[in-house]
């Protein structure tokens, strides 16, 4: 039984339904398409990896360096172009511009409600709530004048503020519309440090989310953010956790698992390439993502990831860190089975890929005919 890809099967079904085709003819179509599909599949021993690598990197030469782009209508800048692609392939723990796209459940799809959610997500630091700061050197106190209007607009209880502002080596207390911070040590040298430290105190929202933007995308309200924290966002009521994503692949790996991380790599890479107007068949990006994630975590393309963990000593040594790989091979008594391309090129042998993977077996006559002797 030959299985056609599901997508093609569905297409055939749709086609036969639309054209009112009999079951017998449908079978004929399936047979024909099966034949077409077989003709279009890979030949055995095709070096798909190299083709994939070339297909991804050849257009990368045409990519622009430092491009920033405004996600949505206006507002949030995201790294794009070659730097972003490198970021994904290097498997950096934190992207240069982490962003989230937060989808909202149907029941919460009103502008007010979405704005409210967005507001709650955005990180509020004490800095945002302070009008002015007075440094009282005689009493060794720092006095912050609070912006009560903003405080109420953001739904922050000023009474709780003193507890929230829990900075090391200092105590905070509320005095009317002033917030006084008294350092524990009467030390004038440290007071400046504390002054700025207090301003950075986290008051509300999710840490690291510096910007939120509510936009309408395809008829629904969506929140775009700068800064990413999926775990916290998923806990918020009204957030559609099934669709909400981040561009931080490691965060997706932690929160949603490898399969999701694999999909995120594919999606992010395709998005970046599409944005630059470069056409690359998605199959190659999928292969790359599979290679990066086969061992259950996300591995970088390069010396500290896939390339550093290749099975063959010669492949590793010829890539980077020659000395390290050769000495370690000697110590461990490693053995190179010469199964790949690079190894065989090195020892001047035909590599077992493509036509090189096959041998010709000829029928050699046991005895030569009389006359030819």
């Amino acid at each position: 039984m030959y299985n056609l890809p599901t997508k093609i099967q569905e297409e055939i079904l749709k086609y036969t339904e639309e054209n009112k085709i009999s079951e017998k003819q449908q079978q004929q179509i399936i047979d024909a398409v099966t034949k077409i599909h077989k003709m279009s599949t890979y030949d055995p021993q095709e070096p798909m990896g190299v083709v994939a690598a070339q297909s991804i990197s050849e257009p990368a030469t045409q990519m622009t360096m430092r491009t920033y782009h405004f996600a949505g209508t206006a507002g949030i800048q995201v790294t794009l172009g070659l730097p972003r692609v490198l970021e994904i392939f290097d498997a950096r723990k934190e992207p240069r511009t982490p962003t989230m796209t937060i989808y909202i459940e149907k029941s919460h799809q009103t502008l007010d409600r979405v704005r409210k959610i967005a507001e709650n997500i955005k990180e509020v630091k004490l800095r945002d709530l302070v009008k002015s700061t007075i440094l009282d050197l005689t009493e060794l106190k720092i006095k912050y004048k609070l912006d009560l209007e903003r405080l109420h607009a953001l739904d922050v209880d000023e009474k709780k503020l003193s507890r929230l502002v829990n900075v090391r080596n200092a105590v905070a207390e509320l005095a009317g519309e002033m917030l006084h911070v008294i350092p524990k040590k009467k030390d004038i040298t440290n007071i400046h440090k504390i002054k700025f430290g207090v301003l950075e105190a986290h008051v509300k929202g999710i840490k690291g989310i510096t910007q939120v933007l509510v936009t309408k995308e395809e008829g629904e309200w969506v929140i775009n953010t700068l800064g990413s924290n999926l775990k916290k966002v998923f806990e918020i009521e009204g957030v559609d956790a099934t669709r909400t994503t981040s561009n931080n692949i490691f965060e997706i790996l932690d929160v949603l698992g490898v399969e999701a991380a694999r999909n995120a790599i594919i999606k992010q890479t395709r998005f970046t390439l599409d944005e630059q107007g470069l056409v690359v068949d998605p199959r190659y990006i999928m292969l790359l993502a599979d290679m990066m994630t086969t061992e259950g975590n996300v591995k970088a393309i390069g010396r500290y990831g896939i390339s550093g963990e290749k099975d063959s000593v010669l492949v590793r040594a010829s890539f980077e860190e020659t000395k390290k790989h050769l000495t370690s091979a000697a110590i461990h008594g490693e053995c190179d089975l010469l199964k790949g391309t690079i190894e065989n090129i090195m020892v001047n042998q035909v590599a077992p890929v493509g036509t090189g993977a096959f041998d010709l077996v000829g029928k050699i006559p046991q005895q030569l005919p009389e006359e030819e002797k």
Binding site: Y15, V33, T41, G49, S57, E58, G75, I331, C335, V353
Partner: protein
């Protein structure tokens, strides 16, 4: 029978092996005696191999090329640590109990190795990775001895608490560790005491040949210099020990031996000074020989130099087919391929020699004889079966044609040779795209495959016509270019009609014969184009490039808008970029998929020539006046630009009076910049709309409409306004403090002061505008050079990571060691290079099958 290397084992070299392999015991630091002969027992001992032509090896009797060289050895007066393994020595010292010599890891508590698929000789998994950092255990879990803190000082000194451990002490300690204990830490490559050298292997001279300079003076290899140092100091240490010299002198010499041996292995050690040549140049150690781009691994083993290749400048010749390459006579005479003489082709071989079409003959005994005018008759007479004639390139030979950088597999393809006069490689301009070549001085290479298998593989797998479809996106990478597109497009416009006479002339110019439809005195361009198509060919359903931006979905009456080809006849539509160009050409794609590569190849050859020929017939030229807009359009564009500038100025006023709306997530300044950029950009785009609608039909317009070169934007820049020049995607702001140039007032925010070019290229830029334009141009250059480097390294990494993945017979993708990466290649098994932009387009092909 061909033998293959099936495995390569890595392990440590033991002193016994060195002694057994060695043919020479090195005892003296002298290289040559007074007569210039190599000293026996020196590091150039003649028994170590031959490097001088004509001489024979004293060990094996072989000459240069036969004798692989032989090892020597040096007995070290005192043992020395092998610097390559200092880290391993350190780890072992930490992990091995100084009393019971056991690895200090409790049973069951062994750490698992990080490397999962290591293949080792004994196949024992390393429980502790010697490569990782190990914390020294406080007490031995077996004999409960308290361990002493081991410290390691780079490059090669060890301390146990305060006491220095000499290589001798370490060696003694390692000797007592049992093999079983060693496997616990994954040490399977030999004995740890071998990490401390007692016998020093002296490499054969063949790997460190000396060069004879003019005047007979010899210049020795870096390694030889290093070896001389090692032997000299070692001898002096030995002598000092024999005469009972004081301890401190011995230690100094010992340290010196250690230093020389260390830098011999690796001359980039942290903590040790670089060993230098007399001239001050740093010497190359063994590691430096292997390492990096030009090292043995990357430079020689993976990057081999080849014979039977040629390189020269390229130039275009549309009369060649896309799968041909014009090879200069002088190159064709130099490049050869073996012609094996059999009973059936002796005559042919004789003819080759007689006509001076061969350069050498090789007799069955392996002798090569150069064919000259004098000896050719003699050779012809002797020529029999079994001889090999090295014949010159001829028309029709398969060669590989390549242009660097070879970014994808279409950067090297197989072409057929056409021997031609003059000194450049000639090629059809349609194959420029896959090679990314142009003719501004580019050079390309030709390689001649030397075996029958290689030629067959090249002709079948690498031939140009078999690489029309890119594996990257499943579309054509070879198609018409520039004038070829312009010509075909103008020809296939509905208004184009040619008399029978002109049509004949046209095909005459194009250089191929065509049977014109009978009985018609006037032929339309579409009819003429149809002659190139196979009879049953059909394609439809997309717009021509002229109407690319039309929004209306419905099929209009315009005979040029929608492409429709039925039964090999072009019914409507202009054949342009969308049909016939590389990367976009749907017609070429479909032709390749539905018929066969040869038909598609022929179509490209002919269409290209027809296009160029039609331009010759029709005439194709442009003048500065083509960029003149009608007077009302001129005022309109000027007004639009002025309006945009005014808008920007208003924004600046609003900013200064703090009335400007701040955009979310931006500072006030950023908001201003963004809004100015927007205002100016929309002004320019309004101007460009005016240009698009008001421009009179001319050949500049024809070019961008057909998609052969240029765009509305570039035309607008020439005819109406250049627009905003940017640095890092923002308005130009660098220069002086608070201003870009000294000619502006401080804090001037107007468009003109920050890179807005309000003139067109035709009008000419004022000095400031030219400055902005040049700044933008410089940024482009910087960006390009940075980008090529970054993406080049990315490609190297990607290739290395994915290099061994291949599709197996069961459709899975596996790496070289059989690990499955994908269960079905690309999840549906479809090879994009056999697809239609990634799909199998079964509906199209179904029609074809139904027909059959």
């Amino acid at each position: 029978m061909v033998y293959r290397i099936s495995e390569l084992h890595f392990s440590l070299l033991s002193p016994d092996v060195v002694k057994n392999l060695a043919r020479v015991r090195v005892v003296t630091a002298d290289l040559y005696d007074a007569d210039g002969y190599p000293v026996e027992g020196g590091v150039m001992d003649p028994r170590l191999g031959v490097i001088d032509p004509g001489l024979h090896c004293r060990t094996c009797g072989g000459g240069i090329g036969d004798c692989p060289g032989h090892l020597g050895y040096l007995e070290l007066a005192k043992p020395v640590i092998n610097v390559l393994y200092t880290k391993v020595v350190y780890q072992l010292l930490k992990m091995v109990c100084r009393k019971c010599q056991k690895v200090m890891v409790e049973e069951g508590k062994e750490r698992k190795s990080k490397r999962k698929h290591k293949i080792t000789i004994s196949d024992v998994e390393a429980n502790i990775d010697l490569d990782s950092v190990i914390v020294q255990p406080a007490t031995c879990p077996f004999c409960k001895t308290k361990s002493k803190k081991i410290t390691f000082v780079k490059p090669y000194t060890y301390y146990e608490e305060k006491k220095e451990l000499s290589p001798m002490d370490i060696r003694e300690r390692f000797e007592k560790v049992s093999d079983k204990e060693l496997t616990k830490v994954g040490f399977n490559g030999g004995r740890p005491e071998w990490l401390i050298l007692t016998l020093f292997p002296v490499p054969p001279v063949t790997m460190r040949p000396s060069i004879t300079l003019e005047g007979g003076e010899r210049s020795e290899d870096d390694l030889t210099h290093k070896l001389v140092d090692i032997v000299r100091i070692n001898q002096s240490l030995k002598e000092n020990i024999d005469i009972g010299a004081p301890e401190f002198i011995l230690n100094d010499l010992w340290e010196l031996v250690q230093y020389h041996i260390s830098t011999y292995f690796d001359n980039e050690l942290t903590g040790a000074p670089l060993a230098r040549h007399r001239s001050g140049r740093a010497l190359k150690g063994l590691i430096q020989r292997l390492k990096a781009k030009e090292g043995r691994l990357r430079g020689n083993l993976l990057g081999k130099r080849v014979n039977f290749s040629a390189r020269t400048v390229i130039s275009p010749d549309p009369r060649l087919s896309i799968n041909e390459v014009g090879v200069p006579e002088s190159i064709a005479q130099e490049l050869t391929l073996p012609f094996y003489v059999t009973t059936k082709n002796v005559k042919e071989a004789q003819r080759l020699i007689r006509n001076q079409k061969a350069n050498y003959v090789i007799r069955p005994d392996g002798r090569r004889i150069k064919i000259t005018e004098e000896n050719k008759t003699e050779i012809v007479q002797n020529l029999i079966e079994g001889w090999i004639v090295e014949r010159q390139l001829e028309n029709g030979d398969v060669v590989l044609y390549n242009r660097q950088p070879s970014l994808h597999r279409m950067s090297i393809m197989a072409h057929r040779v056409r021997v031609m006069p003059y000194q450049t490689f000639r090629m059809n301009p349609s194959v420029c795209f896959p090679y990314n070549a142009d003719f501004d001085g580019d050079e390309m290479n030709v390689h001649v495959p030397q075996t029958e298998e290689a030629r067959v593989e090249a002709a079948m797998l690498m031939a140009v016509e078999n690489n029309l479809i890119s594996p990257r996106f499943g579309g054509p990478v070879i198609g018409l270019d520039l004038d070829q597109i312009s010509g075909i497009a103008l020809l296939t416009k509905a208004e184009t009609k040619l008399s029978r006479r002109d049509a004949t002339l046209l095909f005459g110019l194009a250089g191929f014969a065509m049977e014109l439809p009978a009985g018609k005195e006037e032929l339309t361009g579409k009819e003429l184009f149809s002659l190139l198509l196979p009879e049953d060919f059909a394609i439809s359903g997309y717009r021509s490039n002229f109407y690319k931006n039309r929004k209306i979905e419905k099929k209009g009456e315009d005979p040029d808008e929608w492409i429709e080809i039925k039964d090999g006849k072009l019914i409507s539509g202009i054949i342009d970029k969308q049909s016939v160009a590389a990367e976009n050409g749907k017609l070429i794609q479909k032709l390749e998929r539905m018929t066969n590569p040869t038909t598609a190849k022929m179509f490209i050859d002919r269409a290209g020539r027809l296009g160029a020929a039609y331009l010759m017939l029709r005439g194709f030229s442009l003048s500065i006046a083509d960029l003149d807009l009608p007077p009302e359009a001129q005022t309109k564009t000027r007004e639009e630009i002025q309006k945009a500038e005014e808008e920007a100025n208003q924004l600046i006023v609003q900013y200064q009076t703090k009335e400007l709306t701040t955009l979310p997530g931006m500072t006030r300044k950023e908001s201003l910049e963004a809004q100015i950029m927007n205002a100016l950009a929309s002004g320019v785009s309004r101007a460009s709309d005016v240009v698009e609608t008001s421009m009179k039909p001319n050949d500049i317009r024809n070019m961008y409409l057909a998609g052969s070169k240029g765009s509305v934007i570039t035309t607008t820049q020439m005819a109406a306004v250049v627009g905003q020049e940017t640095i890092l995607g923002k308005r130009i702001k660098r220069g002086y403090q608070k201003r870009t140039l000294a000619h502006y007032k401080e804090g001037d925010l107007t468009p003109g002061a920050h890179g807005f070019v309000a003139h067109s290229f035709k009008q000419g830029l004022d000095p400031f505008e030219m400055m902005w334009n040049i700044m933008n141009g410089r940024e482009g250059l910087m960006d390009k050079s940075l980008r090529t480097r970054k993406s080049g390294y990315m490609q190297r990494r990607l290739i290395n990571a994915l290099q061994d993945l291949k599709v197996m017979h069961d459709g899975t993708v596996r790496n070289a060691h059989g690990r499955i990466i994908q269960f079905t290649a690309g999840e549906d098994g479809i090879d994009p290079s056999k697809s239609d932009w990634g799909t199998i387009a079964w509906k199209d092909r179904l029609d074809m099958m139904v027909k059959e």
